[in-house]
Amino acid sequence: MYGSLSIIEVDNWGRKVHEEDPQKLAEFEARIERGEKIEPQDWMPFEYRRQLIRMIEQHAHSEIIGALPEGTWITRAPGFKRKLALMAKVQDEVGHAQLLYSAAETLGKPREQMINDLINGKSKYSNVFNYPAVTWADTAVIAWLIDAGAIINQVANAKGSYGPYGRALDRICAEESFHLRYGYDTCVHLATGTPKQRQMLQEALNRWWTPIMHFHGPPDKTSVHTETLMKWQVKMASNDAMRQQFLDMYVPKIWELGLTIPDPNLRKNTETGLWEYTEPDWDEFMRVINGDGPCNAERLAVRRYAEEKGRWVRQALIRPTERYVTPLA
């Protein structure tokens, strides 16, 4: 067959899981149960396709928007080495967006539609990128701790059932390890520097702690659909489990540097082995994700500018004989 999986038929929108062909659904679930991957041309429940498109698309948007807060400091990076490294990191993030958009496209949503939905505010992206990088230290905290949170999420999802997403994440994780090392090194440099540098880092950490606690999403008890998504191996770990893993791995590293975390209740319960913390403000999370954060409008305006100003170049290069087909894998 041609590589074209036709764009999802409109009358399929909203098809519920119980409306699927029971035999095909059973075969599909058995395949996942056996640890086999689902490929774009396979039959899949509509809800599986919808959730994956939503998730991969949001992930792609997060990468491309995530390049903006960090990019803020490229022009004023402290020294040539840091400038080169930050430029490389930002370029990586944009490359990750390309990989993820491609994976989402295999599910039948063209890239133009995803960009439309981003700029019109219809699709979301990671909430943390709606906050500003006020100083150089903010970019250091992002590179270390936001990337650390992302790696926990991505390593888990790389083992998920959808082939193209897993393959994209494998490539992404390989590059993220550089980001984490770079971010850690930059934070340690500030933490072991002058009192002013230490203060700058501490203030950035204070600013970013709430977004960091928001990063893995609302507590499990409020998340819907998690059970089916975990059975289908779309979601590989619960929000709370990922947050616990993050705290377990990074709180000791933060404390080791003599920094404080702005949560007096943060401690590891030695009996349960779980971290206890003050729930971050989830109303703020909802408010910011729905558009009312400090940088939402600016982030989207920058994307809009890039798309609009680049359009004439793209159009000049289109060959009228070419046509779009859904990518194969």
């Binding site: 490359g95 439309n116 019109n120 359009r311």
Partner: protein, 158 residues
């Protein structure tokens, strides 16, 4: 009203707030896709690694270099229009299963040869030295591996 950004590059753009709906317009604004194949070292197979969007083969190759050969070692890249790939369907994957016992065309289908010689030599009372040792040494290693793999595939077929 203009944005006041912390990023001097953004301020230089003099972006203005707008509520106008954004529309990238027609299909193909982001061009068609090309499947990218990457060869890590001379002598290796080219391996499919993903896609790029590009208007021409030359630009596809340029983007493929940026996207897929930025970190990983690479000596050669291919790009092929997605539309030009003619692929089989996963639904038809059963066509790759052998329809019946085809051991006659596998090296593991020929395991009784030695036994036949031994039987013959015994019946005839032949005393010339057996070639077993030298034969064992001469047997190609690669063929042995194939036997084993093919054995698993056919032997455990459901």
């Amino acid at each position: 009203m203009q944005f006041e950004s912390l990023d001097p590059r953004v301020n230089r753009l003099r972006l203005v707030r707008t509520n106008e709906a954004f529309d990238v317009g027609h299909e193909m604004d982001q061009w068609q896709t090309w499947e990218v194949f990457h060869q890590q070292a001379r002598g290796d197979q080219h391996r499919h690694v993903g896609i790029v969007h590009a208007p021409t083969a030359e630009m596809a190759l340029l983007f493929a270099k940026e996207q897929y050969a930025r970190r990983m070692k690479c000596v050669n890249l291919w790009v092929v229009r997605t539309a030009d790939v003619y692929a089989s369907e996963y639904e038809d994957a059963d066509m790759f299963e052998p329809a019946f016992d085809k051991s006659y065309r596998e090296s593991f289908g020929y395991t009784q040869t030695r036994a036949r010689i031994d039987e013959y030599r015994k019946a005839q009372g032949l005393t010339t030295p057996a070639a077993a040792e030298t034969e064992k040494q001469a047997e190609p290693v690669a063929a042995k591996t194939t036997v084993k793999k093919a054995g698993i595939v056919i032997g455990k077929k459901k």
